[in-house]
Every structure is written in structure tokens, then in C-alpha cells.
């Protein structure tokens, strides 16, 4: 059979969040309902997940678990060189291996990192597909490469793209930085480093593709079914109307599953050629190399401060490395969180021959907060101020960044109060490192800012069936954050039912449109949309009841599985009966219309950490974390708590363990597995206390709820680093704070 050669060029699906967020602010809806003052019964409570039973019995279908009749196993051949020209690809031997049903060339021209896809094969089983890959002959012409940002920045370093390796992408100025420094009593400068992190989702990335005539269905382990659909339509020039993307259960995304992936395209093409469904699931190694990572950063902060603690100037220079793609904008916290009239930021991307960076739970903010908050602690010490007082002194109720508009709501002050009390802030060392002995204790804290405002035009339906059953439908995806459960909770609350009475349908591009689940946007998008739909359903039911009872709809109240006359509670009709009388099923369309302009909508929080440092071994142990958050109204406290705990666990991992290590000689990753790439586990988990200030935002949406996904991931590493500073008297200034770095820092302190 003749083999076609495909060359796939996928557009950068790595839309940096802040760009997307700015875009979200451009149109003002005509009519914005303000949040209900109403007291709720189930909303705001602790509700176990409605699909818990499927998960604990192993019956929740993940993409890895999908099995279709005649399904083939697809595998991808990846380039072992960090930079090479693909001279030729010979597929014929692989194609003629019995059991192999399709082969593909995926790359022509230059391969820019070790792990980039070159070819693929689909076969009747995994072993045969693996054998097929070994029979594909690729001729490479290897080229010079560079895999570390330090080397990439050097004069004469091999160029990653056809342009310089260093590229300025952010230049921000506010006030007059020069004057700011001139009016300062004390000027301090520090440099902070953060490592490249791998998402390492539990379920590796994967897709299943199946063609039926001209239509294709893709089951994908994704955070964004509509992005995958539209990406496929664009890349393969198939009408979007003929593509259906389904996501059932997904084992973690953290930003690495936000858009179309190249292996999904490969699965679709292999399935087409083989005329059979194809499943591709990546290995742990592939997940380490080519589905994204958190870009590293080298940030230098310089600030001026008056003796009374007033910040007069803040300057940040950032070199961030996202491999072959752009790094992260790390300056947002510095620009926004604290009051300062004179601010300057310069950010540069450094390109290397390594896998592309991708949003990683709170992109830029984790790195930026680590630097900024660490810097503030050192600054506070310089002028003899309590670090928390320094933060309070620069508290602002306006968005400092560009707009100067007020925050719609901001509970950071409440977070400070609550957190300080719970951790016992007074117990900290008044002077960093003042303790003695081999084991030193310390306390530290850090503030958090993030967006979390929701996507206008998110759609959701509530469907009432004549048999009394109810559906809540939305084309969103549940990442394990409890989306399905709060859709049921909100619908049930509105209709007088229990969450278990609601059948929730999500994760299918045939359902009403919803954006990607990323950037802490899902709850503030989906919750108001489903509430809107449910309210419309409730109104319909009220009207029907009013007509029957010959009363005004305003006098109908919804009770437990029934509707009754407010003035004569004995007069009632059951929910089921009312639905039975409908002539046909009814669908109610809900929408999140957006929020008023003129306000900034952000989430806030503060983390407090207590640590122990062994100054002989350099080992850090986190003893306790208190996490306080303002994410608006919390819809389900149980799942919200889990999300915060998860963010903290991952943040501990960032602070102490996680780093991709590249081999400069071969250009390959040294630790592409979960054995050598350390993440936090069992014995690293401290006591964790979560507290929500639970404020209802007065305008963001009908429920006054904001996002929560990224916030708990942001301040934790910084808080731990500050606690370590408080314990040993020197800021380690580089994460992960592995024992060697702690010992080096202690040595620096000794030297002075």
C-alpha cells in the first residue's frame, strides 16, 4: 500500500492565560444579575461527589480504559537527538510487519528537541506496534544544540530558532523608576531561580480516534474538548461539525491538557489510514519530554524602600525558559499585589532545545510569587519590620497593574488575620535564624493573587423529563475538581431536589459550549450558567403550579420535591406529578452572561508555613501549613478543601523536590520517570489546615463565586522558603530547595 507522508504543523495552543483573561474583559453584557442574597441549603455545604461510587469501584471510564471493536494500538517514534535534520524516513519495513495496519511520517525538516515526534505506527497490539517502531528507519543529520538556559544565553550558542535565543516579551513601566530609587533609604537586590517542572499527570496523555464515514469521534484525556475539536478542524481541514470530542474521566491535567496535542492528530490520521479505531496512550517517559512543563526562571528583583517601610521602587528582570516555546510571564504578582508607584519590569524568553513549556497550574505566578515574596521578607528584615506588617502596609483595594480600577471584592486582609491567628504568627523568630541547635524552626508566609473570573457566554442546559428525572448538561470537563457534583448541587438546590436526583452530562462537544477547564475559570463559568438554566426551569414550574392553583407565580414556593402555595402550605403539588403533566420534555438554556466592567475580579489568599531545617544535613521538613483563601462563595466545601490540599502538596513538591535535569552532553532529559524525578509523597505531607473567608463577590456572577484551581498552588513554595529563611537566617533563593542548596546557602551566610 502506498504511504502518504504527512507533515503536521500544530499552532501554538499554549495560549498564555493572561492574554486570554484580558480578552475576557472586552464586552460588557447588557444585563448582569447580581448574586443572590439567598441562604442556600446544599450550596456551600460539604457534598460528597455524585460519581464517587464509579471511581472507588474502578468503573469510571478514563481515556486509557476505552476499548472499541477492532481498535489498534498506536505508537510514536521520537527523535533521540536534541537537534537534527530529518533526512529521510523509511516506513516500508514497519508497514509490512504482520499486524501493522498503518504507518505515518510526522516530521520533515528540523527536529528541535529530543522527544519530538517523527513517525508513528498502528498495529493490532502494543508489542507489535513497538516492534514496528524499531523497523522504521530514520536518517538524521545531527546539529549543534543547547539545553540549558545559561548556555543558551552565551555568545555564540547554537540558535534554537532562526532568531536570537533571547527574546524580550514584556516591558512594563509605571511611574518613574529612577526617581523611585533616588528617594529610597535602602536599596536591595536579589536573584531567584526556579527549575523546570513536569506536570506528570497520573493518567498519561492519550487519545482514541474512530472514523465513521466522513465523521470522526475522538476520546481524549483533555481539559478542553472544544479546543481539541477546533484544533483538529484547523490542522486537518475537517469541518468542526464532523468532529466530536468526548472526555469522560481524566487523570489530571494541571495545564498540560489544555489544547490539541500532536499525538491526537496522529491517532486521527492513523485511524483514517487503517480504517479502524486507534488508541495512543503515551508512556511516562513521553509525558516527561513532550507534553509540556513549567518554564524555569531567573529573576532579579531590585527595590527601594524608605525607613518607615514605604516601597519607592520595584524592578524585576526575568529570564524565563520554556524550551522551544515562550517562557512564563512572572511579573503579575509584582505588578499587582502591593502598592508601589514606581515599577519597571523586563522579561525575556530564553529558547533551548528542550520540550515546550506549557501552562502549569498557576503559570508564572508560582515563580513570580516565590521571588517577590522572598524578596519582601529580606526587605522587611533590612528595615526591622514584621514581614506581615510590611505586606499590610502596602495593601491595596485597587488593581495596581494597569487599570487602577477597584477590586470587586478582596478578602486578602481577612486571610492575613485568619492565617496569622491559626499558625500562631507571634511564635516566629523575631530575627531570622536566631534559634540554635542542629534543628531550626521557622515560620513564613506569602500572599496570593490570581484571576478566576469565568468565561462569558458559557452555556448550560437543564432538562426536565416527563418521568420526573432531571438532567444538567454542559460541554465542560471535570478534572477531579468536582464540576459534576456542583452542577448537580446547584440544580438540586434550585429545584428542591437532592444532588443524587440529577443526571449530569458533561465532556462532549455536542453539549452546550463551555471553554477549557483551566485558569480557575470553570466554576465561575459553569456554576452561574447552570444556575441560570435551573432558575428558568424553576420559573416554568412555578408558572405551571400558579396556573393550576390559580395564584400568582410569586406565591409559589419550591420545597422538598414539591411546589406549594406560600399562603396556604397545605396546597401543594409534587415535583414528579407536575412534570408528568408536561406534554413533552423541556430544555432550559442557561448562560453566564459576564460581569460589569469597571471592576477588577481576582482571587486572593495567604499561606502560612512552619518548617524545621536540619542545618547539618540541609534537609527541610514542612510541619504545618495554614491556607486561607478568598475565592468568593464556596459552592462545595468538601471538594474545595481537596483542591487546596492538592495545591499545597504540589507546592511542597515545587519547593523541595521537583526539577527536570538535562544532560548537556546528549541533550536528553536525565530523569524522565517518577523514580528520579521526585515528587512529594506520604512522608512529606504536613498537617494542613484550610480556611475560606467565603465572601460573596457582589457582581462577578449570579452566585458570587470565583475560581479556586490555581490559587492554592501559588503562595505555598514562597511561604515555605520564607519559613526556611526565618529558621536559618538566609534565603535559599532557589527552588527546589534540595539539601545541597540549603547547605550552600548556610555556607554563604557564614562567609557573609
Amino acid at each position: 500500500m502506498a504511504k502518504k507522508e504527512y507533515s503536521i504543523d500544530i499552532k501554538d495552543s499554549n495560549l498564555l492565560y493572561h492574554e486570554e483573561f484580558r480578552e475576557m474583559e472586552t464586552e460588557e453584557p447588557e444585563e448582569v444579575p447580581s448574586p443572590e442574597k439567598e441562604k442556600f441549603k446544599i450550596i456551600g455545604d460539604y457534598t460528597p461527589r455524585i460519581d464517587g461510587e464509579r471511581i472507588v469501584t474502578g468503573r469510571a471510564p478514563f481515556t486509557h480504559d476505552i476499548k472499541l471493536r477492532g481498535m489498534l494500538c498506536g505508537k510514536i517514534l521520537r527523535c533521540p537527538h536534541a537537534c537534527a535534520e530529518v533526512v529521510s524516513v523509511h516506513l516500508s519495513r514497519a508497514r509490512s510487519l504482520p499486524g501493522v495496519k498503518a504507518t505515518l511520517q510526522l516530521k520533515k525538516g528540523r527536529v528541535k528537541y529530543a522527544g519530538e515526534q517523527v513517525a508513528a505506527a498502528a498495529a493490532v497490539d502494543e508489542k507489535t506496534a513497538e516492534e514496528a517502531l524499531k523497523l522504521i528507519k530514520v536518517e538524521y543529520k545531527t546539529l549543534p544544540f543547547v539545553v540549558t538556559e545559561e548556555k543558551a544565553m552565551e555568545e555564540g550558542a547554537p540558535q534554537v530558532h532562526d532568531s536570537p535565543n533571547i527574546d524580550k516579551f514584556n516591558d512594563y513601566n509605571r511611574g518613574d523608576i529612577k526617581k523611585g530609587f533616588e528617594s529610597a533609604d535602602v536599596v536591595l537586590e536579589r536573584t531567584y531561580k526556579t527549575a523546570v517542572e513536569i506536570h506528570h499527570t497520573a493518567e498519561t496523555h492519550g487519545s482514541v480516534a474512530k472514523w465513521e464515514g466522513k465523521r470522526v469521534t475522538v476520546w481524549d484525556s483533555t481539559q478542553a474538548i472544544f479546543n481539541v475539536r477546533d484544533g483538529l478542524a484547523q490542522t486537518l481541514r475537517i469541518p468542526a461539525s464532523r468532529i466530536k470530542v468526548i472526555k469522560k474521566y481524566m487523570g489530571g491535567g494541571f495545564g498540560s491538557k489544555l489544547g490539541l496535542n500532536d499525538y491526537t492528530v496522529a491517532a486521527v490520521l492513523l485511524a483514517k489510514e487503517a480504517k479502524r479505531p486507534v488508541k495512543i496512550t503515551l508512556s511516562r517517559k513521553e509525558n516527561s519530554l513532550c507534553v509540556g512543563n513549567r518554564p524555569s526562571s531567573i529573576q532579579t528583583i531590585k527595590a527601594g524602600v524608605k525607613k518607615d517601610g514605604t516601597l519607592t521602587a520595584l524592578y524585576l528582570k526575568n529570564y524565563t525558559c520554556g524550551g522551544i516555546r515562550r517562557g512564563d510571564r512572572c511579573s503579575e504578582p509584582l505588578i499587582d499585589v502591593y502598592k508601589c508607584s514606581n515599577v519597571k519590569v523586563e522579561e525575556y524568553t530564553v529558547f533551548t532545545n528542550t520540550g515546550a513549556g506549557r501552562p502549569t497550574r498557576a503559570p508564572g505566578h508560582v515563580q513570580g510569587t516565590f521571588a517577590l515574596e522572598g524578596f519582601l521578607d529580606e526587605l522587611a528584615h533590612k528595615i526591622n519590620l514584621d514581614p506581615l506588617e510590611l505586606r499590610k502596609k502596602h495593601y491595596t483595594t485597587k488593581n495596581e497593574g494597569g487599570t487602577r480600577i477597584p477590586y470587586s471584592s478582596k478578602g486578602l486582609d481577612k486571610c492575613y488575620l485568619l492565617g496569622a491567628k491559626k499558625i500562631g504568627w507571634g511564635r516566629r523568630n523575631k530575627k531570622p535564624g536566631e534559634g540554635n541547635g542542629k534543628i531550626r524552626r521557622g515560620l513564613g508566609m506569602a500572599s496570593q493573587i490570581w484571576w478566576g473570573m469565568g468565561r462569558p457566554r458559557t452555556l448550560a442546559d437543564v432538562k426536565l423529563h416527563r418521568d420526573g428525572s432531571v438532567e444538567a448538561v454542559c460541554g465542560t470537563q471535570d478534572l477531579g475538581t468536582g464540576t459534576k457534583t456542583y452542577m448537580a448541587t446547584i440544580t438540586a438546590e434550585t429545584l428542591g431536589l437532592e444532588p443524587k436526583d440529577i443526571t449530569v452530562k458533561i465532556g462532549n462537544t455536542e453539549y452546550p459550549w463551555c471553554g477549557s477547564s483551566g485558569g480557575s475559570t470553570t466554576t465561575p463559568s459553569v456554576a452561574p450558567a447552570i444556575r441560570d438554566a435551573a432558575l428558568k426551569a424553576a420559573n416554568y414550574m412555578k408558572n405551571q403550579t400558579a396556573e393550576k392553583m390559580e395564584i400568582s407565580p410569586d406565591d409559589v414556593i419550591i420545597g422538598k420535591e414539591k411546589l406549594s402555595n406560600k399562603n396556604d402550605p397545605a396546597q401543594s403539588i409534587s415535583f414528579k406529578e407536575l412534570l408528568k403533566e408536561m406534554r413533552r420534555e423541556r430544555v432550559f438554556h442557561g448562560e453566564y452572561v459576564g460581569r460589569p466592567l469597571g471592576y477588577a475580579y481576582n482571587t486572593f489568599g495567604a499561606h502560612f508555613a512552619e518548617v524545621e531545617v536540619d542545618i547539618e544535613t540541609g534537609k527541610i521538613k514542612v510541619l504545618k501549613v495554614v491556607a486561607t483563601h478568598d475565592s468568593g462563595r464556596i459552592i462545595n466545601k468538601l471538594t474545595a478543601e481537596s483542591q487546596v490540599i492538592g495545591g499545597i502538596t504540589q507546592g511542597i513538591s515545587t519547593a523541595l523536590f521537583e526539577q527536570r535535569v538535562m544532560d548537556e552532553a546528549t541533550g536528553n532529559m536525565v530523569n524522565p520517570n517518577l523514580r528520579d524525578y521526585k515528587i512529594a509523597t506520604s512522608f512529606d505531607i504536613p498537617e494542613i489546615e484550610v480556611a475560606f473567608v467565603d465572601m460573596v463577590d457582589p457582581r462577578i456572577n449570579i452566585l458570587g463565586t470565583k475560581g479556586l484551581g490555581e490559587p492554592p498552588r501559588i503562595p505555598i513554595a514562597a511561604a515555605i522558603a520564607n519559613a526556611v529563611y526565618n529558621a536559618i537566617g538566609i534565603h535559599v533563593s532557589e527552588i527546589p530547595m534540595t539539601p545541597d542548596k540549603v547547605l550552600q546557602a548556610l555556607k554563604r551566610k557564614e562567609v557573609g
Binding site: V56, H64, K67, E203, Y249, R284, G480
Partner: protein
């Protein structure tokens, strides 16, 4: 187990494999012949087993007997997921790093990705699908739901199986003991604290406390 692994390395190195394929790759016609030959073999107590020959085994999974023909190189995880469609047991690393594939073999928690299916011949295997009895969830499953001992749920079957094994042996574990028993399982969503809570709630309810 260890012994077998060592032997395997001796008789069947990566280099041999590559050599085998180097020649096998000369033409498509050669390959199937090669596959059916006893070229690579594995030394076991029962003697030499050719790697590519089939073997009949019986697995007792969740109290049901499955008689099936497998290749000796197939892992228990592969057989469970791909041949028996018992997909509750998950694969996260396939290299003994994560514990997602944990099942009970004669009551002991093992990584099924590191266990050859022939090693489980005639043994009793329990997977997450086999815990609920008569439509009633196991107390550990119940506690995971109640305490929200998961987020994405991908690691959950593995954690549940390790917890079952723990509570079988230790009815009233301390938190440190729970941490030790679950230290072979990774949860990337990071819900450990809630998982420990779930296990201690389950231990209470199993003791009738």
C-alpha cells in the same frame, strides 16, 4: 520473583533482543518465523519457557476463575486490563514507581506492572472491581467517598487496594502506619491528607467503633 528477574537478564539481554531484531528486520517474511521460534527463553522452576510460546494459566480473580492462554512475557497488569477488560487497575508508570496498578495477590499488595501473569497462575487475585459485595461498597470505598479521598480518581484504585491490605493486617493503624503502608502509592493531585483520613475512618467503621 527476584531470582527470576535476574535469570531473565542473563538469558535475554537487551543486546540480544536488538541483535534478534537486526536480523529479523531484514525482511517481513522472516519476522513471523522468528516470533514462533524458541529463541529467547526464560528459566523458571518448571524449566525453560520460551518467551514467545503460549502458556495456559488459571487466574482466580475476584473469586472467579479465568482460564486463559498468555505469553510468558505478559504482565499481570496487561492481562487484567487488555485481556480481561478489568480496567479498574490503572497504569501510571509501568515501572514500579507509582502504585496505580496495585492488586492483592493472595492478600498481599503487589505492583501488577512488575508481576508476570504466569507468576499469578493458580493464585488468588483481588482487584478494585472485586471489593464491593452484593452491591454494598467496602467500608474503605465508602470512606473514600465520604472523606473525598481523591480528586481525578486515577490513583484511587491503587490506594484503595493498599489500604485494604493494610486494614486486613492492622485493624487500628496509627497515621504513621497508614503513611508507611501507602508510601508506595503516588497521588499527583496531592490528596494524601484526605486519603489518610479516609483510611482511618474506614478502620473505625470496620472495627465497629
Amino acid at each position: 520473583m527476584e531470582k527470576i528477574k535476574k535469570k531473565k537478564r542473563k538469558t535475554f539481554t537487551r543486546r540480544d533482543f536488538l541483535k534478534g531484531f537486526g536480523s529479523g528486520a531484514l525482511g517481513a517474511a522472516v519476522v513471523p518465523k522468528l516470533v514462533s521460534q524458541d529463541v529467547f527463553s526464560l528459566q523458571t522452576k518448571e524449566g525453560k519457557i520460551p518467551l514467545y510460546s503460549k502458556k495456559q494459566i488459571t487466574l482466580n480473580i475476584n473469586e472467579k476463575n479465568y482460564s486463559l492462554v498468555i505469553e510468558p512475557r505478559e504482565t499481570l497488569l496487561h492481562v487484567l486490563r487488555e485481556k480481561l477488560n478489568l480496567t479498574g487497575t490503572k497504569k501510571t508508570c509501568s515501572g514500579g514507581e507509582c502504585g496505580a496498578c496495585t492488586v492483592l495477590l493472595d492478600g498481599n499488595p503487589i505492583y501488577s506492572c512488575l508481576t508476570l501473569a504466569i507468576r499469578a497462575d493458580n493464585k488468588k487475585i483481588t482487584t478494585v472491581e472485586g471489593l464491593a459485595a452484593d452491591g454494598k461498597l467496602h467500608p474503605i470505598q465508602q470512606a473514600f467517598i465520604e472523606k473525598d479521598g481523591y480528586q481525578c480518581g486515577f490513583c484511587t484504585p491503587g490506594f484503595i487496594m493498599s489500604s485494604v491490605a493494610l486494614l486486613e493486617k492492622n485493624k487500628n493503624p496509627l497515621t504513621e502506619e497508614i503513611k508507611t503502608a501507602l508510601s508506595g502509592n503516588l497521588c499527583r493531585c496531592g490528596n494524601y491528607s484526605k486519603i489518610y483520613e479516609a483510611v482511618s475512618v474506614a478502620s473505625k467503621s470496620m472495627r465497629g467503633a
